[in-house]
Symmetry: D2
Subunit: 257 residues, 4 copies
């Protein structure tokens, strides 16, 4: 059983009727429903809950955290971001969706600006499967299409260890590394571009398939705290420094070099 927590900022759906009409239960609600499966134990959490719904208890019992945020990135508390980051380093998986590229947590794990080009033009996009043997692409063909998506385009400012799973083609002339994996500490991270709030992207079977695969791929191998231990020698050390450094560094007349 994989314990999944789907986090959503949940603002657009409450503030904009057209978006509420697409996601009446919120993006988190739709994802929870679409991803439901026997091997997944799914909870949701949202920005406006106490501690954004990410209490210590929740984080300690989460195997994989899914993250959707957009207009309220700045409102996410730094101390909670710090806890989420530490839990990823200890083993928790993280799936960052769409506008989550600019979330505090994704910038923290990448160390980059995560900037990109964008355009809301309702254009067609096609995601090419670059990694056909990867667990995340199983059940996905050579490509899949979304009839309308927000354009996210290069240059996407992410580190080079971002293993490219999908490259996106956009009708308006742009390309994007639309699916990218990272490892940080003992945790696995997947960024996935689709999911603009004004399109019914999270009803798409391929998108849901990819996110479900990613959750299973990002499942922790183990949880383990990191430490920086003073480690006794495993072999005899015979080079111990006996000459006082100061002497070594003094001139013959006793002045410092």
């Amino acid at each position: 059983m994989i314990k999944v927590t789907i986090w959503n900022e949940f603002r657009h759906e409450q503030e904009i009727p057209a978006i509420a009409a697409i996601y009446p239960k919120g993006i988190h609600g739709q994802l929870a429903e679409a991803l439901a499966a026997e091997d997944l134990e799914i909870r949701t959490a949202t920005l406006d809950q106490p501690e954004h719904g990410l209490t210590d208890e929740v984080l300690q019992s989460t195997d994989v955290l899914v993250w959707w945020g957009h207009c309220a990135h700045a409102l996410v508390r730094d101390d909670i971001v710090e806890k989420v980051h530490q839990r990823i380093l200890e083993g928790m998986g993280l799936i960052v969706l769409h506008s989550g590229h600019f979330s505090k947590i994704f910038k923290r794990v990448t160390g980059c600006t995560c900037s990109l080009k964008w355009r809301e033009a309702g254009e067609k996009c096609r995601l090419w499967n670059i990694a056909p043997t990867h667990p995340i692409t199983q059940g996905i063909g050579e490509y899949f299409e979304l009839p309308h998506e927000e354009m996210y385009g290069e240059r996407f400012d992410i580190p080079e260890d971002g293993k490219v799973i999908f490259i996106g083609w956009f009708e308006g002339g742009n390309v994007f590394r639309s699916g990218v994996t990272f490892e940080r500490g003992y945790g696995k991270v997947f960024y996935f571009q689709p999911g603009h709030e004004s399109y019914p992207t999270y009803y798409d079977a391929n998108v849901i398939k990819v996110i479900g695969n990613a959750i299973r791929w990002a499942r922790p191998v183990f949880f383990r705290a990191h430490s920086a231990p003073n480690s006794p020698a495993l072999e005899e050390i015979r080079s111990v420094d006996t000459a006082p450094h100061a002497a070594v560094l003094q001139n013959a007349d006793g002045t410092n070099r």
Copy 2:
């Protein structure tokens, strides 16, 4: 002319006579002296200066920042770390030395804990040159040795895009990725293990050669701010969504799906 700022926490040298004897001008002073060259314009900055010596003016006129810290990582102000990080993403080079692996700035650029094993036993270490064609290893042979160094050992918790330049062998039985490069934003980053404060490591010709090479390698190609621009379409978009999503997602009886 490359503008270099050497930053040093500068505490051990002021507090511990044995270390002051090795580095009477501070680690920063020794590095500045040893690295002096016609193509480098070198300044130093230390923790106890106003704004840690890293004012906006200094950062704006620094091409490559060299960083040594150890016991006072926690005293470095977060707002200044943030400014240093942004400047790296805009193009500034960063050379992180030895115990700087646990500095706030190195953890920020890697997104990892940067934890490792360590031991102070004055043991011999040998750094093997894994990347003989890399600019950082020019003038360095197949390996070089340090008679006494602090052991830093695996597992070193860093991201996989850390390109390995040196692998260290330690007499006491450990190994370490002792020289590793990263790119973040438009900036280049090099981590280099040698330099424990109680050994005269920064008087070693090979160590200085490597740091000097790294400075030249990390020189900015350009400085450029990042942005996330709304980008007009480069090609005509014909897929514009005309059906209201709400309608698409409504059942025949008008209830939401």
Copy 3:
């Protein structure tokens, strides 16, 4: 059930009594015995069999090929290496052991010389686990030791996508990327350093654990032939070139530019 074929050049064991005493059934025989498990269907093949034991039928029914060779690399037929290579690209896993670093097949998949330093001095070696979450290291601690092994040392001439799983420490002062993974086509490849013929390395529980893990990791996701298809356009193309190129490239007076 994973179909494993263990290939051994099987010369030292037949020609040198001291080695026959260590591996009376051959290195392949010992590996087959030590790796025996319910989920593995293990066969062996050797150089002196017809077609080196690697007929089309054998290759078509092999999921993972394990390779040990040393003094007779040059005797392996090029046409059979070509078939093995193609089968890897279609999905077959490859585990290359020890002196197999200089096998034709490992040089083919890496495109490098795969050269290294070596020394037969019976020295101790310690393999540090650099990738604790990787399937290949499950059940292995922070490191394991071999009391006597041939030294293989850097610089190991392999491509940069060699993901480092183990770094080896040798008593005589060398280090080595002792476990490294690659992907080629749809196939996974693992190189593992331990296994000199004059030491009983393949009786070591950790070594066998690693090879067993690697076999399971390298299991094909699928077998699929590669093709370079002429692909019809997925979108309407409106930029078709109507101007004859020659005209475009002619000067006004009709001479070629």
Copy 4:
């Protein structure tokens, strides 16, 4: 002075008048003319010359080899491919253009099939600059366009260490890793997609700029033969195996284990 040899199969230009009209001096002739610069000493070589124009003398005096081939890949002699490969491993740069993705030499250095999708439809393509600080992209903006090119599309079967410099967008709906670097041995390799023989691509200023940059980037740091030396111990070895292995491996009754 960088010694450049531009190799061209030079068949289409001699056999097809429409292509001869575009490249009256051959693709190699046009490249030589367009790339001419004070720091480059450019020669050309073609398939039908003795030893394909790649004699030992030519290879020994070439810093960077540029390669264009298409219909005659199979006619390139294996022994010459072997020599070219060895020279790359010793330090020579290699720039592989367009249909050279299927050349023997590119398959040798990558160890992959290098297969891809293709389509000749005269469509527009746009190459996005993913690596703005890389030497190969200096002087190139965020993207550049070619009005008519052959489509090369994913999935491109190359190794993961292919650092992506350009991602191509094609009007007909495909994407491609259009510029990719590798390192093999001491040599640098760049693959670049543009250059179908029926379009005047090698008259395009951006394409020529990229190839020129790549030549300078791929310039050898040094030429050095590879060896696999028996290396004396650097440290005293005290673990020498004194117990005969056979004894260790015998049962109490003297039978072999």
